[in-house]
Symmetry: C2
Subunit: 236 residues, 2 copies
Amino acid sequence: MDTHLHHDHIESHLQSSDLITDVVIGMSDGLTVPFALAAGLSGAVDSTSLIVIAGLAEIAAGSIAMGLGGYLAGKTEIDHYNSELKREYDEVEKVPEREKAEVKEFFANLGFSEALQHEAVKEMTKDKDKWVDFMMKYELGLDKPDPTRARKSAFNIGISYIIGGIVPLTPYFFVDDTLQALKYSTLITLLCLFIFGYFKSKVTGVNPWWGALRVTLIGAAAAACAFGVARLIESA
Amino acid sequence: MDTHLHHDHIESHLQSSDLITDVVIGMSDGLTVPFALAAGLSGAVDSTSLIVIAGLAEIAAGSIAMGLGGYLAGKTEIDHYNSELKREYDEVEKVPEREKAEVKEFFANLGFSEALQHEAVKEMTKDKDKWVDFMMKYELGLDKPDPTRARKSAFNIGISYIIGGIVPLTPYFFVDDTLQALKYSTLITLLCLFIFGYFKSKVTGVNPWWGALRVTLIGAAAAACAFGVARLIESA
């Protein structure tokens, strides 16, 4: 009962951390890159509507690229798992003694005595499916990937990127002067990055204040760098 | 000797896949997002120099955000590992019977007989360090992260993004007409995405032609979407 609950706990822990990973990936880039792009353009052009166009084009491009990037990463993981699974079945069939030696080595590394190693290998290799499952999980460290994960991941990352990206652009919708809009954009984006960094760090078990500061400084650095680059080229 | 070689093989496999993962992450976004941004702006503005400014600002912002994103992901992994390690040591100290039951359950899941489970738990829990190490690796599925990985990852992803991002911008340096530059940009970027997708798929064991097509279509979709969004806003 207790171990069952414990298992459920781990499962739900892993699932929520998948979603959180996606949101963190999407939103931290979504808040940072369109913000930095808008900041860069604010130093080089006079028209806020141009910055809005560039910003929304970037959000469209970034959310598709990142979402599909997440999708492909998930798909690749599944393909990789299946090709390794096929290879393990082949090896168990063709070179069973070598595969048995690998199982034995696993238990030797756990600190089992010689006698116990033999016993464990005997029980472990009785059932071919269990044997292959064991090799996949504990020799190669591969868990069976969730087949729906790739699609969910694409969606979560894409949406998070769009939500994050709209934040820094908002002032440019309402303010005509680019440098004035940049001031508001910087204010709200750094505030959002700080709050985002705080909760992200809470979830991952890092000191939240330090984590919040770290995320905020990255956003500021990216924006400052983009601003500098755009100014340099514009004045060249 | 054989198992040692086998172990080295796995290690080098993992290391090269870390680097490849970084390059894939950085370059697929680097080729796609600045390309799509440039495509979007080509449909809405007349000046190639403006597109160059926006593109370089995006590359500066994107490479910093993605590189630092990779850095933070690596750092978070290390912090997470250390906090879980501390908790496992605490639990082994405070609730050893529950932890022993979890070890027993692990061996039960492997298909061990009741007698062998007892034997295995006894040997496994003799040494506290080995015990905790076992819990970390096989109950929580956490490997000790490489402490230098975060920095390497940041660098690899950032550089890959810059290299990828320069490709679609190149025509805008040399051609004055934005739509003409977009044609060349589309040609060389889709070609690069195809080649990139081909080799990436070869490495990950996916059918390379299908993988190449998939990556190319994503880039084209992102660019078309950005172009459409920018046109829509510009004409509104």
